[in-house]
């Protein structure tokens, strides 16, 4: 338990720090790299939560695809690879206040409502886990219970694909 908590602490700290750097850095490319750190930490958190399939997908899709996309975006919009003049607009103050306000409210609500609720301990074997809530179970669920949403999401992806092409096409 203690090991898990320590791991969580490290992961949380790194993700929060990286996130903060990401929204404050003056270099677009650095921001993308900080994003990688955040996403990676979150993926590790999924593993802590025994959701290894999500963690893997996170790594594959986010870090493998999305971040790359971002980097392409940065390149194509010809941001300088070094420092840029000004990446923030003039309402940082307002944004910070809003964010802190939301954080305060969320924090209050969460602490107030969930207090010290503990996550249940899973004393099962690897096989048992895999059958009940592991990758296999997730796969079964997707193609049975959640088949229709899955199809809808597929169509959505297709639409996004077409949309992106239409938008970005040069003509």
């Amino acid at each position: 338990m203690i090991a898990q908590n320590i791991a969580f602490g490290i992961l949380a700290a790194s993700s929060v720090l990286a996130a903060i750097r990401m929204v404050t850095t003056k270099n677009v490319v650095h921001a993308a790299l900080y994003l990688v750190v955040v996403l990676g930490s979150v993926a590790a958190n999924y593993i802590l939560l025994a959701a290894e399939f999500v963690a893997v997908v996170q790594l594959l899709v986010y870090i493998g695809a999305i971040v790359v996309l971002f980097l392409f975006g940065v390149m194509l919009t010809r941001a300088k690879l070094g420092h840029e003049g000004e990446l923030d607009n003039d309402q940082r103050g307002l944004a910070a206040v809003t964010a802190l306000l939301i954080l305060g409210i969320l924090g209050y609500v969460l602490v107030d409502y969930f207090g010290d609720d503990k996550l249940p301990q899973l004393n099962r074997t690897h096989e048992q886990l895999n059958a009940t809530r592991g990758t296999g179970a997730v796969g079964n669920a997707i193609f049975s219970t959640y088949l229709i949403p899955f199809e809808v999401v597929s169509v959505l992806l297709l639409a996004a694909l077409v949309g992106a092409i239409v938008l970005a096409r040069r003509d």
């Binding site: 607009n89 309402q91 103050g93 307002l94 944004a95 910070a96 206040v97 409210i105 209050y108």
Partner: protein, 710 residues
């Protein structure tokens, strides 16, 4: 007929629509429908009149209050409620020389249908026919019919001949609705309908801004008075126990079932409406301007509809005024005062007019003052009688003026003169009208005016009797001036005047006959009996409360002397060319007086320039400025301030600056002054921050609420 009196307004209302939709395709452009409708109405109202005369006089007995008691002070008040309760026999005969004389009332005829219902309050639409309504119906029908006849010739070839007749029909409908209404709400319908029609008719030639301005002024002035009507009707509705019914309101007011405060409030409010509609001081200024309309319309407005609607309202809800102003107990009250002031100031204005129609307009105001004063001093019958006679001779004078202007194509008396020899028929009928108006024995105006003055004297309103006499003298004098300038002397105009066609002169002659003989209907027994009084007094509320007085020869002689004297002096001055020439140049007081009169006491300047100009100009603009800059500014300022407060708070946290209040108010002011466009920065992120921030705040509120309610 009495049961189905609603047919009369229905006929004219139908005629309005028929003329409007089909008038233009008919051979006489719709005038035939109007004439036919009014002819039928005249017939029906005459029939109704005869039926009323022969109507069952049901067993509603009451005794007249003794006059002497009223004059000597206050006993009548005790007698009145008692008499009404049917105990008059004990109360009345106790007093002096006038033995209470039993009267038998004709029962009013009521008929109603369900109109609408809210909660437990059901409102019926209905007709209430009594003597007053019958007389009004008859008078209105006669005048309106003659005006229709007159108009066929006078208005022929007009741009909007058909519209004109349609409006006349609607106008008459409005008056019919008002006089037959059994409740105040229906009365309001008729009242406003007339307002609308007067707007349409005064602005008949709306191509010229002058005319549409006059129409607007008429409508707005009367509408200002209508504030009082709305308030008054509302007050009475609740005070009389959730009813609009006029008879009920009157009887409850007289019974003392309505608290005096509410009654007084209602009476004052209603009187404001009367002032507006009947052109009493200080809201009389619209009437002379209303001369912008065609002349027959002026005749209709002045003689039988519109302006007398106010007087009618006063007479119809007399129970309310009677109790509220304690008319028997006092020797002064607002109604009498306003009426008295109006008599004098309007008569004074009539002297300086050069437009013949304006002379007549001011004379109408002055005569309406008589009616209002008559009602104010308790001479109910006299006032109604004066309305009746005035209708005929005032219509006669207006139509006569129309006839003259038809010949000389002008209303300026400077363009007239010597018309006597060109238009003899017009001249003689006009002379009759003038003498009747002046109150010359034995023409109609004499009897009715005399009755008002007598009532004022006998009811303890001596001062107002004197006012009335002065007014009578002034009336006689300015009418002499008017007649002289129009019909005598040399012709000063251009063109060749000629007598008008029969469609114009016949109505004049009919009216002249009425002007001569109408007065005898209520002349003292000596001359034919108080027939009119007995006819109208059966109105529901008059009861025993109103004292009636025997004809007094002394009073009659006095008023005759005053009138003859005034005519004599005026005639001597005018016919003898003895008017002091250049008086206004030589004498400063005279010049000031003339200026004062010529500017109509500057009331118009006050209304148009100061009040309307103020509202339309600076006040409305200021309100709009407030809207655009302050309210909208707040909206935009909120957005702006939200945007700025972010950076402000940032600085504040950052630098620990303390002077927050000063900055804040400075920012607030800046926000207020912010231009429209600041909200609309078009920056999605700013909207986003407001959205997020707002959501967070709402969530906060929700949390607090739930926390509290748990």
């Amino acid at each position: 007929m009495l049961e189905h009196i609603w047919i009369i307004p229905a006929i004219t209302f139908t005629s309005f629509w028929l003329i409007l939709f089909f008038g233009k395709r008919l051979p006489f452009k719709g005038s035939e429908i109007g004439l036919l409708a009014l002819g039928v109405c005249l017939l029906l109202s005459t029939v109704a009149g005869f039926q009323w005369i022969n109507h069952d006089s049901a067993e509603v007995h009451f005794e007249r209050a003794p006059v002497a008691a009223a004059a000597e002070g206050g006993h009548a008040a005790e007698a009145a409620p008692a008499a009404e309760d049917g105990h008059a026999a004990e109360a009345a005969p106790a007093e002096g020389e006038h033995q209470a004389e039993a009267h038998v009332l004709r029962t009013p005829v009521d008929k109603s249908v369900h109109w609408f219902k809210i909660g437990d309050t059901q409102v019926d639409a209905g007709t209430h026919v009594d003597g007053l309504a019958i007389v009004m119906l008859f008078t209105v029908s006669v005048i309106s019919f003659l005006v229709h006849v007159f108009s066929t010739s006078y208005m022929s070839g007009d741009r909007r001949f058909t519209h004109y007749f349609a409006s006349l029909s609607l106008f008459t409908t409005g008056m019919f609705v008002l006089v037959t209404a059994s409740n105040t709400l229906q009365g309001l319908f008729g009242w406003e309908l007339m307002g609308l029609c007067s707007f349409m008719l005064i602005g008949h030639w709306w191509e010229e801004p002058k005319n549409s301005n006059a129409a607007l002024k008429a409508f707005l002035t009367t509408r200002t008075g209508d504030i009082g009507l709305l308030v008054g009707i509302s007050t009475l509705f609740f005070a009389a126990g959730r009813t609009f019914d006029i008879a009920t309101i009157n009887s409850r007011a007289l019974d003392g079932q309505i608290g005096h405060t509410a009654l007084l409030l209602a009476a004052i409010a209603l009187f404001v409406a009367v002032i507006g509609k009947s052109a009493q001081f200080p809201l009389h200024t619209w009437l002379p301007d209303a001369m912008a309309g065609p002349t027959p319309v002026s005749a209709l407005i002045h003689a039988a509809t519109m302006v007398v609607a106010g007087v009618y309202l006063l007479a119809r809800l007399y129970g309310v005024f009677w109790q509220a102003f304690s008319i028997t107990h006092s020797s002064i009250n607002p109604v009498a005062v306003v009426g008295g002031i109006t008599i004098i100031i309007a008569a004074a204005l009539a002297f300086v007019q050069t437009d013949i129609k304006k002379v007549l307009a001011y004379s109408t105001i002055s005569q309406l003052g008589y009616m209002v004063m008559g009602l104010g001093v308790g001479a109910w019958t006299g006032a109604m009688f004066h309305f009746f006679t005035h209708a005929f001779f005032k219509a006669l004078l207006f139509l006569g003026a129309g006839s003259v202007s038809h010949a000389v194509h002008s209303f300026e008396m400077d363009d007239m003169g010597g018309m006597k020899k060109y238009m003899p028929k017009t001249f003689w009928t006009f002379i009759i009208g003038s003498f009747a108006l002046a109150g010359f024995f034995p023409l109609a105006g004499f009897w009715s005016k005399d009755e008002i003055l007598l009532g004022a004297g006998q009811n303890g309103y001596t001062f107002f009797m004197i006012v009335g006499l002065v007014g009578a003298a002034m009336t006689a004098a300015y009418m002499t001036r008017c007649v002289y300038l129009t019909f005598f002397g040399e012709y000063r105009g251009h063109g060749h005047p000629h007598e008008s066609p029969a469609a114009i002169t016949v109505p004049l002659m009919v009216l002249a006959v009425f002007s001569v003989f109408a007065g005898f209907l209520n002349a003292p027994k000596l001359f034919g009996g108080e027939w009119f009084g007995r006819l109208v007094e059966d109105a529901t509320f008059v009861h025993a409360a109103i004292p009636i007085h025997d004809f007094s020869v002394t009073a009659a002689l006095l008023s005759m002397a005053v009138v003859s004297g005034a005519i004599g002096v005026a005639a001597w001055l005018h016919f003898g060319q003895r008017l002091p020439k250049g008086l206004t140049e030589r004498s400063t007081p005279a010049r000031l007086g003339h200026t004062f009169l010529a500017n109509r006491y500057f009331l118009d300047h006050l209304y148009t320039g100061v009040i309307i100009g103020g509202i339309k100009g600076p006040i409305a603009r200021a309100a709009y400025w407030f809207n655009q800059n302050v309210l909208d500014g707040v909206v935009n300022g909120v957005a702006f301030a939200a945007k700025r407060s972010g950076s402000w708070i940032y600085k504040w946290i950052d630098q620990g600056a303390i002077d927050g209040t000063v900055n804040g108010s400075g920012l607030g002011a800046e926000g207020l002054g912010g231009s429209l466009r600041r909200l609309q920065t078009g920056r999605v992120q700013q909207y986003g921050s407001l959205l997020f921030g707002g959501t967070a705040l709402f969530a906060l509120g929700l949390i607090l609420l739930v926390a509290r309610s748990n």
